[in-house]
C-alpha cells in the first residue's frame, strides 16, 4: 500500500478504473495512480491466474500491465494519466481483439 505525502494532493485528473472513477494527480503514471488509489494488485497472471502487482516501476518487469483506452498489455508505469482515461485491470491472458 502507498500513500501520498501530506502536502501533495490528487484530484486534478480523473480516470476510470474498471468503471469506477479514481482521482489522480497530473504527472502520475497509471501505475502510481492505481497504487495511490489503494489497488493492491493490477492483474492476475496469464499462466497461473494469481494476483500480481507492479514490481520495478521503470518499464522492465511488465508486471504493471493493464488495458488502457481499449489497448491491452500496456505498461502502466510508463503511461501518464490523462483526464477521462479508461483503465481496465486484466484477468488472466488477453484475448484476440482486446
Amino acid at each position: 500500500m502507498f500513500r501520498r505525502l501530506p502536502d501533495i494532493e490528487a484530484g486534478s485528473v480523473t480516470i476510470r478504473v474498471d468503471g469506477v472513477p479514481l482521482a489522480a494527480r497530473a504527472g502520475d503514471t497509471v501505475t502510481a495512480a492505481l497504487l495511490a488509489g489503494g489497488h493492491d494488485h493490477c492483474r492476475t497472471t496469464a499462466v497461473g491466474g494469481v494476483r500480481r502487482a507492479p514490481y520495478c516501476l521503470m518499464g522492465v518487469c511488465f508486471d504493471c500491465l493493464v488495458t488502457i483506452d481499449g489497448v491491452g498489455n500496456r505498461q502502466g508505469c510508463l503511461v501518464p494519466v490523462r483526464d477521462g482515461m479508461v483503465v481496465d485491470t486484466q484477468r488472466g491472458k488477453r484475448e484476440v481483439g482486446r
Binding site: 497530473a26 503514471t29 499462466v47 497461473g48 494476483r51 516501476l57
Partner: protein, 474 residues
C-alpha cells in the same frame, strides 16, 4: 505535462540518435548538439532524467532535503541538454536498432524508422533479479521501484515496510523515506560477511572517493533511526494472496517480521536488451556478475557507429555515466564533424577515471551471495512464465546447454519482460548445473522488437521496395 511529449520526432534522419535521457544520454546530447550535430534523444519516460534523476523537472516532492543534493544535480544536466538544441522526445519507445543504424521508435501510437549516422545507447541499468520465495506476491517491490514512486509522484509506503538486500541504494532509499517522515520497520542486510574481508584490499582506492564519506553518512543517519539486522542468509516473502510477513534466516535461526511492503534490492546490472539485439558483442563480468558490452576507450562497440555509454556499459554510477556520455559524443563529433569545436577526449577520460575510483570496493563488498542469485528449486525464477529454479535444473539434466535452447522446454524468458527479470539467474543456474562458466553458457538470443508495439503500428511503418518484395507474392 512537458513540451517534449506533445511535439514528437521532427525529422527522419539525424547525425546522432541517443537512446535514453538519463545522465549519459543527456550529457552526450548536450555535447554533440553544442558541437553542431543534429541530435535526437529518445526516452520511454514522459520526462528526461532517467531513473537516477527521475522526474527531476516535475517531481511534486518540494522539500529538497528529502531526495538530497545528488538528485538535484540532474536538473542542470536536463537544462544543458535543452539549451544545446538537442531534440528531446519523451514517451518514445525504441523497439529496434540494426547495423544500418535505423532506429525503430513508437511515439503516441505511431511507429516509424529514424536513420542515424551514429547511435549512442544510453539505456542504463535495471535492478538485479532477486529471486526469493514469494517475490511475485503483491506487496513485494524493488527498492528502486519505491524510490521511483517517491520521486515521480510523492508516494511513500503506507504501513509496515521492510527493506532487504544489499547495496548503496538500500541505504539511500531508507534515508529518503526517513526524511519524508516514513520509518521502515527494519532493514535486513544480506551483504555476506566474507565480502567485508575481500573488499578490504580495495579500501585505499575507495578512500579517495567522495562516495566513502557520503556512504558512511547515510548509514549513520539510517542506523540511528531504523533497526538494521545484518548477516541475513535467507529471505522469503510470506502470504497467499499478498505479502503478510518476511521470513529470514540469521546465524542459523529462522525469524519472521509482519510486513505490508517488502522492498528488495541487490545492486543494478546493465540493461542489455537493445544493445544485444543490435548485435553488440557482450562479455561476462566475473566481478559485477552480469553481461557488459565489449567497448573501446570511447565507448564504441563491435557494431560500427554504435556506442554504449552510462551504466549500460558496465555499472559505475551516475557521475561516471555523465562522463562516458560526453566521451562517446566527442567521438561522434570527431567522426562526423572533424573541424567542430568539442571537449578534449583526454580531459574527459581523466574526469571519468576520477569518477570510477573505488568502484572495485563497492563491487566486491556488495556482490550478492550465491543463494540470492541461484535460489532453491521451488523458487520462481521467470516471473512471466512462472518457471521455477528446479524446472531449469531439470532441463539441464535432460541435456539442455543454454538459455536459448531452454526456451523450447519451458518458455522461460519468453514472456512480456523478454528475460529482463530472469536472464542472469538462468545463465548462472545453467552454468552451475553444467559446471562451466556463464561465458560458456551465454545469454538469450535477443531480437527486435525489444519493446512491445501493436501490429497496427508495425504495419503502419513506411516500407521500402525490398521490404515489400520480401513479403508480398507476385
Amino acid at each position: 505535462m512537458t513540451h517534449e511529449r506533445i511535439e514528437g520526432v521532427r525529422a527522419d534522419a539525424y547525425d546522432l540518435v541517443v537512446v535514453g535521457a538519463g545522465p549519459a544520454g543527456l550529457a552526450a546530447a548536450a555535447t554533440a548538439a553544442a558541437a553542431g550535430l543534429t541530435t535526437l534523444v529518445l526516452d520511454e519516460n514522459a520526462a528526461p532524467g532517467g531513473q537516477i534523476y527521475r522526474a527531476v523537472t516535475s517531481t511534486p516532492v518540494s522539500d529538497r532535503r528529502i531526495l538530497g543534493t545528488d538528485y538535484w544535480h540532474g536538473a542542470g544536466l536536463v537544462e544543458a541538454a535543452r539549451r544545446s538544441g538537442a531534440e528531446i522526445v519523451g514517451g518514445a519507445v525504441v523497439w529496434s536498432l540494426d547495423r544500418d543504424l535505423q532506429v525503430g521508435v513508437s511515439h503516441g501510437g505511431t511507429a516509424r524508422m529514424i536513420q542515424a549516422r551514429r547511435v549512442i545507447i544510453a539505456t542504463g541499468a535495471l535492478e538485479r533479479p532477486f529471486p526469493i520465495p514469494g517475490w511475485t506476491l503483491p506487496g513485494v517491490m524493488t527498492a528502486g521501484g519505491a524510490q521511483t514512486l517517491l520521486k515521480s509522484s510523492g508516494l511513500v509506503p503506507d504501513g509496515r515496510a521492510v527493506l532487504a538486500g544489499t547495496g548503496p541504494l538500500l541505504w539511500l532509499l531508507a534515508a529518503q523515506l526517513l526524511r519524508a517522515g516514513v520509518t521502515p520497520t527494519a532493514i535486513l542486510d544480506t551483504t555476506p560477511r566474507s565480502n567485508h574481508w575481500r573488499a578490504l584490499r580495495h579500501l585505499p582506492g575507495f578512500a579517495l572517493s567522495p562516495l566513502l564519506a557520503k556512504g558512511l553518512g547515510l548509514m549513520r543517519e539510517v542506523r540511528a533511526q531504523v533497526e538494521v539486522i545484518g548477516g541475513v542468509t535467507g529471505l522469503a516473502a510470506e502470504g497467499s494472496d499478498r505479502l503478510r510477513a518476511v521470513g529470514f534466516e540469521r546465524a542459523g535461526e529462522n525469524r519472521r517480521i509482519e510486513a505490508d511492503q517488502l522492498l528488495l534490492h541487490q545492486g543494478v546490472v546493465p540493461n542489455v536488451n537493445l544493445a544485444m539485439a543490435a548485435g553488440v558483442e557482450h562479455r561476462w563480468d566475473p566481478l559485477q556478475l552480469c553481461w557488459s558490452p565489449v567497448l573501446d576507450a570511447d565507448g564504441g562497440s563491435s557494431v560500427p557507429g554504435i556506442a554504449v555509454a552510462g551504466d549500460g556499459a558496465g555499472i559505475a554510477g551516475a557521475r561516471a555515466a555523465e562522463e562516458r556520455g560526453r566521451l562517446a559524443a566527442v567521438a561522434a563529433v570527431r567522426a562526423l564533424a572533424p573541424s567542430a569545436s568539442v571537449a578534449d577526449a583526454g580531459a574527459v577520460r581523466r574526469s571519468l577515471r576520477r569518477q570510477e575510483r573505488g568502484r572495485a570496493f563497492l563491487d566486491t563488498l556488495y556482490q550478492p551471495a550465491r543463494q540470492f542469485r541461484m535460489p532453491a528449486d521451488d523458487t520462481i525464477v521467470c516471473r512471466c512464465e512462472e518457471v521455477t529454479a528446479g524446472q531449469i535444473r531439470a532441463t539441464v539434466a535432460l541435456g539442455c546447454e543454454g538459455p536459448t535452447q531452454m526456451k523450447s522446454f519451458l518458455r522461460c524468458g519468453m514472456g512480456p519482460c523478454q528475460g529482463r527479470l530472469c536472464g542472469l539467474t538462468v545463465t548462472e543456474l545453467i552454468a552451475e548445473a553444467r559446471g562451466c562458466t556463464p561465458e560458456t553458457v551465454g545469454y538469450y538470443r535477443l531480437r527486435a522488437p525489444v519493446k512491445p508495439i501493436t501490429l497496427g503500428e508495425m504495419a503502419g511503418t513506411p516500407a521500402g521496395t525490398a521490404a515489400v518484395k520480401a513479403v508480398v507474392r507476385g
